[in-house]
Symmetry: C2
Subunit: 237 residues, 2 copies
């Protein structure tokens, strides 16, 4: 989510290959160089694909002889998005071309956001085909994965001026609506806030299902909805 103050990211940690095969994995990754760049990736979709993409992006950083384009050297966030997109497309193609057919597709989607010194923070949504779109004031946030349940509150409560504290509340409510409705999304939630022009992580936290603030938002939101519902006038025949 793009805010006037910077960028904020949240992801769940559940992956599944069927309801009887559920695991916990972090889907939030960062790449940073002090005083120069801070980049965050969020992943959704096939876990083998997204892990492979992250490994490739990291490996390229670690092997100086075979660097080529690197996420740590790309001159702009646009180039970073292109690099992530190209890597994603390559990984999907490599798995799809070998003639094996998986029940699930190898598809994955990424959100890439961050800032490189000399330009504003930018936020991109990367498609499995490797192409991407950028957030704007008209559409200042992206969702990937199981997006629909949590969307109505985003549409209604988002405000670019909102504080970090309110933004975290909004993201938690949006995730809570999704978690309540869909088994493929589950706590704990990873969150990261990036303050514009800082080129470092401002705040990173993992919110568990026992987190007192999460519980107060989750229960409070249910009650708030019920009471908002009761206060609206009933239909009249």
């Amino acid at each position: 989510m793009q805010l006037n103050n910077g960028l904020i990211f949240m992801s769940d940690t559940r992956t599944n290959a069927g309801v009887d095969n559920i695991s916990q994995f972090c889907k939030l990754f960062t790449f940073e160089k002090k005083n120069e760049r801070f980049i965050t990736l969020l992943a959704a979709g096939n876990l083998a694909t997204t892990q492979s993409v992250i490994s490739l992006l990291e490996e390229r950083n670690k092997a100086p002889t075979d660097r080529g384009p690197s996420i740590m050297e790309a001159p702009s966030m646009f180039q970073v998005a292109r690099l992530v997109g190209d890597t994603l497309r390559e990984v999907i193609q490599r798995n799809s071309d070998v003639g094996q057919k998986a029940d699930a597709t190898f598809h994955a989607t990424f959100i890439v956001g961050g800032q490189i010194d000399g330009s504003e923070p930018r936020l991109f949504l990367i498609y499995p085909e490797g192409n991407f779109i950028e957030a704007s004031t008209d559409t200042p946030y992206f969702q990937i994965g199981e997006t629909k349940y949590g969307r109505p509150i985003m549409l209604r409560a988002y405000d670019a001026e909102m504080s970090w504290e309110a933004a975290i509340k909004l993201l938690l409510i949006s995730f809570d609506s999704t978690v309540k409705a869909n088994l493929s999304v589950g706590l704990p939630l990873d969150m990261l806030a990036y303050q514009k022009d800082s080129f470092e992580c401002m705040y990173r936290d993992r919110i568990t299902s026992e987190d007192p603030y999460f519980l107060s938002v989750s229960n409070g939101w249910g009650e708030a909805l019920k009471s908002a519902f009761d206060q609206l006038p009933d239909f009249k025949f």
Copy 2:
């Protein structure tokens, strides 16, 4: 939706074959015999399939020589659900078997609810494969089509004891959340309320986008959400 008082149904009227091919069709159908049965069908999915199913169900009523199993003669709602399921499966198979491949699938889903003299009102969800599930006190309502955006409020505000007036408000809020997020769902909305043991329509209405009550719920809900959101405590670092 199943209530202690009876059954209530709501559907939108939009169908689309791509964003540049949008039409308006009624997706709510009734079959009634005074003092004996009242049956309502809601359709979602491929319009050619659902229209064909409804025509077949109606034609069977109209051609006395070729009646066979008829929705107007089935001895129980279970038999009605089976008849709708069988008809749906046949229509999908007929279109799929001729070797043509459509871009979109021929799939469709139905909700069937109603009451036949001698038993309680019952509510079924019919799958494209022709099989079906029945609502219960644990899951007292079904959604078909674009279900996700409108689900969180259903999960939180539904109550079997609620009045007709509150139930209509709930359905309107659920549809409004969907309409705001997804172009494939659009007003006007058709709604029907069936009072238990009446074997006739209690109330049927079409709610347009200019309907003053709908507008008051739509705007009021947006504001109520915003204020509920503001009232919850912000996150603290």
